[in-house]
């Protein structure tokens, strides 16, 4: 089994990588905060969160603050594990370039 097998295709994108990084260190983050940190458009962000949600790496919670909809994102234990594995794989690849 090559090292490359541990590289997670889902994380091979700047925005998805960013979403996961942010959620690793924050208990919960709302949509607008993600947008602001990653500097992306609504539609773009929504499609990437959907992908991660479908993989069950992140969890979504929708609520209303007053009349404003507020969407919060959390990382799941599965997502945490997958992300850690991905970072280890990146590290290995950098240390032992082929």
């Amino acid at each position: 089994m090559g090292l490359i097998d541990n590289i997670n295709k889902l994380f091979d994108h700047r925005i998805r990588l960013g979403i996961m990084s942010i959620l690793m260190v924050n208990d919960d983050v709302d949509f607008n905060r993600l947008k602001e940190l990653l500097d992306v458009t609504d539609g773009n962000l929504a499609s990437h969160t959907k992908t991660l949600e479908n993989a069950e790496y992140i969890k979504v919670e929708k609520a209303f603050i007053g009349k404003k909809p507020n969407t919060k994102y959390f990382i799941t234990p599965l997502g945490k594990q997958a992300f850690k594995k991905h970072i280890d794989a990146l590290e290995d690849l950098i240390r032992n370039p082929k």
Partner: protein, 202 residues
């Protein structure tokens, strides 16, 4: 695939982790100014307000109220200074000052601070003056350590120093005033100066 891309990925991860969870560092200058306010306040208190040997300080006396007033003034001035200077620095670096992280930083700072403040006031009302300086140093130190999770930089070391000083202070009753000056005055100035030369000059 080249390792350049992986390195970029790693730096993106690091950048996002720190930007999303950490507040920009306080400026060294605000530490220096906080120290100067504290020493100025202490000097005024020393010259005019500290009780003479034959005098008993009571909670209702004007002197006592003035001392509390000076303490509050020093705290508010330091806080406002830190706020203004940090805002200015954030603007210069194109960072937002008021976001989720700032809110968490302030909550984490004020929980130990307010707890300590109320505790000290209760103690004062029951005429336990002896440990006031020590308690102020300890609770302030705890607040700094607690809040430092959300700052870039080395605020936690200032916090640890204040806690240690507060504990030493507790062992030397009667010298509270001097320990207070050392902690809130001298330590702030020393820390602020170190920060100023280490970070702000960059």
């Amino acid at each position: 695939m080249d390792s350049k891309k992986y390195l970029d990925d790693i730096s993106q991860i690091k950048d996002m982790m720190s930007r999303s969870s950490r507040f920009i560092s306080l400026t060294g200058l605000s530490g220096i100014l906080a120290g100067i306010y504290a020493i100025t306040g202490a000097t005024v208190a020393y010259m005019f307000l500290l009780p003479n040997d034959y005098e008993v300080l009571t909670v209702d006396s004007l002197k006592f109220k003035s001392i509390i007033g000076i303490l509050i003034l020093v705290a508010v001035l330091s806080f406002v200074t830190a706020y203004l200077l940090t805002t200015r620095k954030a603007k210069r670096n194109n960072e937002k000052i008021w976001d989720e992280t700032t809110k968490r930083l302030l909550i984490n700072f004020f929980v130990p601070m307010v707890t300590g403040g109320i505790y000290i006031l209760i103690k004062l009302h029951s005429r336990h003056y002896g440990l006031t300086a020590s308690l102020m140093l300890i609770f302030y130190g705890l607040a700094l350590v607690n809040a430092s999770k959300y700052t870039i930089g080395t605020v936690q070391y200032l916090g640890y120093s204040q806690i240690v000083l507060g504990l030493i202070c507790a062992a030397f009753p009667g010298y509270g005033f001097w320990f207070w000056v050392l902690g809130f005055g001298v330590l702030h100035i020393v820390y602020g100066t170190i920060m100023h030369f280490k970070e702000d000059r960059k």
